[in-house]
C-alpha cells in the first residue's frame, strides 16, 4: 500500500514519456490550439497522479488520460459560450460519445503535429524547440538550456509560435505528394538541429545537451517508422546513427580530441554502424538521392576503414561533389577541399579553399581556418599556417578541440 503513490507516479511518468506526444497531437490536431491541448493534458496528468494511487492504474492509461483531457477541453469551451463556441462544444461532446477508444485505436498523429511545427509559416529557429516541446513534452527551461537561450526568451518564442499555429490557421496534415519533399526537409532539418545541438557536447559533460542527441535519434526513428518509404527520412536516421556510433572514440582517455582519421575503430559501436549501413542501403533502393543520404554515405565511407584498413578519399570526394550540387554550403565546400587534398595533394586542396575566400561567413568559421592551417602546414608554409591556426584557436569554444589545435600549431616549429 505504501508503495502505491510511487508506483502511480512511475506509471504516470512512464505514460507521459510514452504517450505525451501522441495525446497532444490527437488533441491539438482537432482544435489547432496547442496551448489549450497542453493545459488540458497537464490537468489530465495531474488528475492521474491524484487518482491512480487510490484507484489503481487503469487498464488503458492512454485512453483514460485522453478522456480526462477532453472533458477538461469541453469545460473550457463551456466557460466561454458564444454561439460559435456553443457549436464547437456540441461537436466535442458528440466526438466524445463516439470515441470510446482503446489505446490501440488511438491514431498516431505525431507526424501531422511535426509538420505543423515545421510549417513554412513558422520561424525556422523555433521549429526544433517546438517539436521538442510538443512531441516530447520538454519545458521551456530545458529547451532553453539545450539551445543556449535564456528560458524566458525560449518560453516567449514557444508561446508566440503556438498562437501563430492557431491564429494563422496552420493545418495538422501530412502534405500531399507534390509538396511533401520540401515540407519533409523542414521536419528533418529540425530533427537534425536537435541532434547537432546534442552532438556539440562531445564529452557528454552537459547532460541536457547530450540527451538532445538521443532525443534527435528518437525523433528520427519515429519519422523513419511513420514514413518508411521516404529515403531522406531513412538517410537522416542513418547519418545520426553513424555519428552516434563514434561518440566514444571522439575523445581519448585524457579527454583530448581525436580526429576521425585517427580514431580507434574498436571503440565504435558496431551494432549502430550496422544499423546505419542497413538504413542507407534501404534508402538507396527507394530511388531518390538527397542531402542526408549523401552525408550518411560520407560517414559510411569513413567507417569502412574498420573493414578495409584505409579511407577511400576518392569516393568521399565524389560524394562531396554531389553534395555541393544538391546542398551547397561552406561546410560542404570545406570538407570537399579536405578530400581533394587527400586525393590530389595539399596544393589542390588549398586551391579549392581559396575559391571560397570571398565568403564573409568564413571569417569567423573555425573549420575553414583549421583546414587551411592543416594544408599550409603540410606545404611547410610555417608563418601562414601559424596565422591560420591562431584564427582557428581564437574561434573554437570547445577546450579539447582548442588544445588539439594548439598542439598542431606548436608542432609547426619542429
Amino acid at each position: 500500500m505504501d508503495d502505491s503513490p510511487r508506483i502511480a507516479r512511475a506509471a504516470a511518468e512512464a505514460a507521459a514519456r510514452q504517450s505525451y506526444g501522441k495525446l497532444l497531437a490527437w488533441l491539438a490536431a482537432r482544435s489547432r490550439d496547442v496551448a489549450a491541448a497542453e493545459d488540458a493534458l497537464a490537468d489530465a496528468f495531474a488528475a492521474a497522479l491524484e487518482r491512480w494511487p487510490r484507484s489503481g492504474v487503469p487498464e488503458r492509461p492512454e485512453a483514460w488520460l485522453l478522456a480526462v483531457a477532453r472533458r477538461r477541453g469541453v469545460d473550457a469551451v463551456r466557460r466561454r459560450l458564444t454561439s460559435e463556441a456553443g457549436r464547437e462544444h456540441l461537436r466535442l461532446i458528440a466526438e466524445e460519445a463516439e470515441a470510446r477508444m482503446t489505446d490501440e485505436d488511438l491514431p498516431d498523429e505525431r507526424l501531422r503535429l511535426m509538420f505543423a511545427c515545421a510549417h513554412p509559416a513558422i520561424d525556422p529557429a523555433v521549429r526544433a524547440p517546438l517539436i521538442l516541446q510538443t512531441v516530447l513534452g520538454f519545458d521551456a527551461a530545458a529547451i532553453g538550456a539545450a539551445f543556449l537561450v535564456p528560458p524566458a526568451t525560449m518560453g516567449q518564442r514557444l508561446v508566440r509560435a503556438k498562437s501563430r499555429i492557431r491564429e494563422t490557421g496552420i493545418p495538422f496534415r501530412v502534405p500531399e505528394r507534390a509538396e511533401l519533399g520540401e515540407r519533409l526537409d523542414a521536419v528533418l532539418a529540425a530533427i537534425y538541429a536537435t541532434f547537432a545541438e546534442g552532438w556539440l557536447d562531445p564529452a557528454g559533460t552537459e547532460t541536457r545537451r547530450r540527451n538532445l542527441a538521443t532525443e534527435g535519434i528518437w525523433l528520427g526513428r519515429l519519422v523513419a517508422s511513420l514514413l518508411p518509404e521516404e529515403p531522406e527520412a531513412l538517410g537522416l536516421l542513418s547519418l545520426m546513427l553513424f555519428a552516434e556510433a563514434r561518440r566514444a572514440a571522439r575523445r581519448d582517455a585524457s579527454g583530448d580530441y581525436v580526429p576521425l582519421a585517427e580514431q580507434d575503430h574498436a571503440l565504435w559501436d558496431h551494432a549502430l554502424v550496422d544499423e546505419a549501413e542497413a538504413l542507407l542501403r534501404r534508402a538507396a533502393t527507394l530511388g531518390a538521392i538527397g542531402r542526408y543520404q549523401l552525408e550518411a554515405a560520407v560517414q559510411s565511407a569513413h567507417t569502412a576503414r574498420r573493414l578495409t584498413g584505409h579511407t577511400d578519399w576518392e569516393a568521399i570526394r565524389e560524394l562531396y561533389d554531389a553534395l555541393l550540387a544538391v546542398a551547397a554550403s561552406p561546410v560542404v565546400a570545406i570538407n570537399r577541399a579536405v578530400a581533394i587534398a587527400e586525393v590530389e595533394g595539399a596544393v589542390a586542396g588549398l586551391a579549392a579553399l581559396y575559391v571560397l575566400g570571398d565568403d564573409k561567413r568564413l571569417d569567423d568559421y573555425q573549420p575553414f581556418w583549421a583546414a587551411r592551417a592543416g594544408l599550409l602546414a603540410r606545404l611547410g608554409q610555417v608563418p601562414q599556417a601559424t596565422e591560420a591556426y591562431d584564427r582557428a584557436i581564437g574561434l573554437e569554444r570547445d577546450p579539447a578541440l582548442r588544445r588539439f589545435l594548439q598542439e598542431r600549431r606548436a608542432a609547426l616549429r619542429h
Binding site: 458564444t82 454561439s83 460559435e84 509559416a121 494563422t168 490557421g169 496552420i170 493545418p171 496534415r173
Partner: protein, 122 residues
Amino acid sequence: MRYIILINSDEAAMANMPVEKIQQMSAAYGAYTEALKKSGVWLAGERLRPSQATTSVRVADGKTSVIDGPYADTKEQLAGFYMIEAADIDTAVEWAARCPAASVGTVELRPIWEMADYMPKQ
C-alpha cells in the same frame, strides 16, 4: 477560416504601364475573381482608388482634422483586397499565390480575427 488578401502595388510603376499591359492585367484579375467565386471561396473583394484619393482623419482634443493624402508615404500602396474563406493557411496561400499581384509584388495574407476568438479566456 476567413482570410484577407491585401494587394500592395507600386502606383508609380502602374501609372507608367503600357496600355496592353494594363488590359492584360485587368483580364487576369477578372479571371482570378471569377475563379474565386466559382470555387465558392470569394467573400468580398474590391479595388481601391489610388492613394492620392486618400483622406486621413484624426480627432485630437475634440477637433477633427482632415488631411489630404495618406497617413504614411510608402513605396507601395494598398491597391485592393479580397476576403476569402479557406480551410487553413495552406489553402489561403494557394489562392494568394494565384492573385496576379503576387507575381509582380507581394500580397499579404491576414486571418480575420473572428468575434468568437476574442472573447476573454476563462
